[in-house]
C-alpha cells in the first residue's frame, strides 16, 4: 500500500506541473483556436534562464539562502518568458489571424524548432545539473516520502491556480477573456480589445509555463534545450483530456494524467510479470487519451458543441 501512496504523491507532483502548462495551451486554444506548439519551449526557456540566473546569483551573493535565490530566479525566468511569448504571438501568430487554419500551426512548429535551436546555441546542448536549492532531506510521512521541492511544487501550483481562477472569474480582464473566447466579434462590439486580450493570454500562459519550467527542472535536477518537448506534449494531451478551452478541465486533466502515469508505471511491471517495464510510461498518456476521446470526444469537461461551419 505504501507504494500506492508514494505513487499518488509523485503523480500529484507531476500532474500539477502538467496542469500549469496545460492551462497555457487551453487558454490560447480557447481564444484563438491555435495549438501553440511553442509553449513547451517557453517552459524550457524559463528553466534554462533560471538556471543561468541561479548560477550568477550564487556567485554574486554566496550567503543568500536557497529559497531567496529560487524565488528571484523564478521571477527573472517569468520576465524573460513573458517577453518571449508576447513577441512570439506578435511576430508569428498575429499576422496570420485570418489565414487558412494550418498556416499558424506551421509557424508555431517553426517557432518551436527555432527556439530549441537558439537555446542549443546559447546554452550548449549538454545536460545541465540543476542545483537543489531547498533542503534535500526528504520528509517521511508514515512510509511515504516527499521532498521539500515536491512540497514546494504542490504549494506553488495551488497558489498559482487560485490566483488564475480569481483573475479569470472576478476581474475586468478575466471577463474580457471569457467574452473573447465565447465570441470575439461580439466581444469587440462590447468594447473589448481582442488584440489586448490575446496578448494578455499569452503573457499569463508564459508566467505559468516559466513557473512550471523552474519546478520541472528542480524536480528532475537537470535542464536541457530539448526538455520542453515531452512536458509540452503531455500538457497538451492533458488539456485535450480535460476538454480543450476549459480551464478547470485543464487542471483536472493534468492532475489525472500525472496520477495515471505514476500509478501505471508503478504497477505495470508487477501486473505483466516484468514483461512491460516502466519505460512504457510515456505511452500511457496517449493510450488514455485515445480511449477517452473515443468514448467522450470533447474531453472530460468539454461542452458538446456542434461543429461550426
Amino acid at each position: 500500500m505504501d507504494v500506492f501512496f508514494q505513487q499518488v504523491i509523485n503523480g500529484l507532483v507531476m500532474g500539477s506541473m502538467y496542469a500549469l502548462v496545460a492551462l497555457g495551451y487551453t487558454m490560447v486554444y480557447g481564444i484563438i483556436n491555435l495549438i501553440n506548439f511553442a509553449h513547451g519551449e517557453v517552459l524550457m526557456v524559463g528553466a534554462l534562464t533560471s538556471w543561468s540566473a541561479i548560477g550568477m546569483m550564487r556567485d554574486a551573493m554566496p550567503g543568500a539562502p536557497g529559497w531567496v535565490i529560487l524565488i528571484l530566479a523564478t521571477l527573472i525566468a517569468c520576465v524573460v518568458a513573458v517577453v518571449l511569448n508576447y513577441s512570439i504571438e506578435k511576430i508569428a501568430y498575429r499576422p496570420l489571424r485570418n489565414s487558412p487554419k494550418l498556416a499558424p500551426l506551421i509557424t508555431a512548429i517553426g517557432m518551436s524548432i527555432l527556439l530549441q535551436t537558439l537555446a542549443m546555441i546559447i546554452w550548449k546542448p549538454n545536460y545541465k545539473a540543476y542545483p537543489t536549492l531547498l533542503s534535500s532531506t526528504p520528509i517521511n510521512m508514515g512510509g511515504v516520502v516527499i521532498t521539500p521541492t515536491q512540497v514546494m511544487i504542490l504549494g506553488v501550483t495551488a497558489v498559482s491556480l487560485a490566483i488564475l481562477m480569481w483573475l479569470v472569474n472576478y476581474t475586468r480582464l478575466g471577463r474580457a477573456m471569457r467574452a473573447t473566447a465565447e465570441n470575439p466579434r461580439v466581444a469587440g462590439l462590447m468594447g473589448v480589445k481582442p488584440d489586448m486580450v490575446i496578448s494578455a493570454t499569452f503573457v499569463i500562459g508564459a508566467i505559468l509555463a516559466a513557473i512550471a519550467g523552474v519546478m520541472y527542472a528542480s524536480n528532475y535536477g537537470t535542464a536541457q534545450h530539448a526538455m520542453g518537448f515531452l512536458p509540452g506534449l503531455k500538457a497538451f494531451t492533458a488539456a485535450v483530456f480535460g476538454g480543450i478551452g476549459n480551464l478547470s478541465g485543464a487542471v483536472i486533466g493534468g492532475i489525472l494524467l500525472g496520477l495515471i502515469e505514476a500509478i501505471g508505471s508503478g504497477y505495470i511491471g508487477h501486473l505483466t510479470g516484468g514483461v512491460l517495464g516502466s519505460h512504457y510510461t510515456d505511452i500511457f498518456a496517449f493510450i488514455v487519451l485515445i480511449i477517452v476521446l473515443t468514448l467522450r470526444p470533447s474531453g472530460l469537461m468539454g461542452e458538446r458543441v456542434a461543429d461550426r461551419a
Partner: protein, 358 residues
C-alpha cells in the same frame, strides 16, 4: 501549342534522367541527396492525400513510414533468423524475401494500421485528430524502442542492420552497374527506382484527385456537414483517405529500409512527421506541384547547405555547426514563408475560387 507542351515534357524527362549521371561526377553524396528528396516527395504526396485532399491533420504520419521500413527490415535482414531458431530452421539460407512480396505486405500492413487508427478517431474534431495521430506516432516509436525484450522482435534502439539492398528483375541495386566502360553508381540506380515510383504515385494521386472520390474528399475538407448532407458517406471516405495515405507511407518506408540498409527508431521521430506536414503545407496544400516543390525544398536544400556551412562554422568559432545551422534555417523558412504566403509557395489555383467570385 500542344507540340510545345510535348517538347517541354520530353526536355524535363531528359533532364530528370540525366540528373544523377551529372551529379555522380561530383560525388555520390549529391546523388544521395537527390534520392532522399525523391523519398520525401513520395511521403509528401502520400500525406497530401490525408491532409491536402481530405483535410485531416495527421501528425503521426511517420508511423506508417516506420511500419513499412520495419516490415522490409525484418523480412530481409538476418535479425529474425538469428533470434528465432525455428525461423532459422525454416530458412537455412536466411530470409531474403523478394521485394515483390515485401512491398505489398508492408504497404498492406501500413494501410491496415491507418484504418485501425482511423476507425475510432475519425469522428473527432480536427485538432483532436492531430493530437491522437501524434500520440500514435509516439506509441509506435516507443514500441520499436522497447520490443527487444522479452522477445527480441525489433532489436530495440540498436535497430536492424545488414538489410538486403533492393533487387528488381535480378538487378541488384546495391551494386554499381557497369555497361561497357561506363558505370552507373548504386545510388543512381536507386534514383531511377525512386523516380519511377514518384511518377507512378503522382499519376495515382492525380487520378484520385479528379475522380469522384477525390471530389468527395475535397467536399469533406471544405465543409463536412454539407458533404454529409449531400449524401456522402464521410466516415468511409475519411477512412479510405487515411488508409491510402498510410499505404503510400508504407511503400516509401520499405524503399527507405532497402536504400539505407540500416534502420533504427531514431529515424522515425516526431520531428520527421512534422517535417513532412511542413513540406505539404509550405508547398501548397492539396496541389501536387506545390507539394513536390515543398518536399524538394525542405529535404534537399538543407542538405546542400551542409556543404556551404563549413566557412560559416569557422567564422562563428564552431558554435554554429552545420546540423544546427540547418535546423535554424528550416525553422526560419517555415516561419517566413508562412508569414509571406499563408497558402503555401505554389498554392492550388482552384482553391478558394468560389469565395473570390462571390
Amino acid at each position: 501549342m500542344k507540340n510545345n507542351k510535348t517538347l517541354q515534357y520530353i526536355l524535363i524527362g531528359a533532364a530528370l534522367i540525366a540528373l544523377p549521371l551529372i551529379l555522380q561526377m561530383f560525388g555520390n553524396a549529391w546523388v544521395r541527396i537527390a534520392d532522399m528528396a525523391l523519398l520525401y516527395i513520395l511521403l509528401a504526396i502520400g500525406l497530401n492525400i490525408v491532409v491536402g485532399y481530405a483535410g485531416l491533420l495527421d501528425l503521426g504520419y511517420v508511423a506508417f513510414f516506420a511500419v513499412g521500413a520495419y516490415m522490409y527490415g525484418l523480412l530481409s535482414s538476418p535479425h529474425l533468423t538469428n533470434t528465432f531458431a525455428w525461423i532459422a530452421a525454416a530458412y537455412p539460407n536466411g530470409m531474403h524475401m523478394p521485394i515483390w512480396l515485401i512491398v505489398p505486405v508492408g504497404a498492406a500492413l501500413a494501410g491496415l494500421f491507418g484504418m485501425l487508427l482511423g476507425a475510432p478517431t475519425l469522428k473527432l474534431r480536427g485538432d483532436y485528430l492531430a493530437i491522437v495521430t501524434l500520440g500514435f506516432g509516439e506509441i509506435i516509436r516507443v514500441f520499436m524502442n522497447n520490443l527487444d525484450h522479452p522477445v527480441n522482435i525489433t532489436n530495440g534502439p540498436k535497430g536492424l542492420d545488414q538489410i538486403d539492398p533492393i533487387s528488381i528483375f535480378g538487378l541488384n541495386l546495391g551494386k554499381k552497374l557497369v555497361i561497357g566502360d561506363f558505370e552507373i553508381a548504386s545510388v543512381s540506380l536507386y534514383y531511377y527506382l525512386f523516380l519511377s515510383l514518384v511518377l507512378v504515385t503522382i499519376l495515382i494521386s492525380h487520378r484520385l484527385e479528379i475522380s469522384r472520390i477525390g471530389r468527395a474528399w475535397m467536399a469533406i475538407r471544405e465543409d463536412e456537414i454539407a458533404a454529409k448532407a449531400m449524401g456522402l458517406n464521410t466516415r468511409n471516405l475519411k477512412l479510405l483517405a487515411f488508409g491510402m495515405g498510410a499505404t503510400f507511407g508504407g511503400v516509401s518506408g520499405a524503399m527507405f529500409a532497402g536504400f539505407q540498409g540500416f534502420i533504427s527508431p531514431e529515424s522515425f521521430s516526431l520531428m520527421e512527421s512534422v517535417m513532412i506536414v511542413a513540406m505539404v503545407v509550405l508547398g501548397g496544400l492539396g496541389y501536387l506541384p506545390g507539394v513536390i516543390l515543398g518536399a524538394i525544398l525542405l529535404s534537399a536544400l538543407p542538405e546542400v547547405l551542409r556543404y556551404v556551412a563549413g566557412p560559416l562554422q569557422e567564422m562563428t568559432g564552431g558554435r554554429l555547426d552545420s546540423a544546427i545551422l540547418r535546423q535554424l534555417l528550416v525553422a526560419l523558412a517555415m516561419i517566413v514563408i508562412m508569414l509571406m504566403r499563408p497558402r503555401g509557395l505554389w498554392p492550388s489555383p482552384e482553391h478558394g475560387k468560389s469565395l473570390k467570385t462571390k
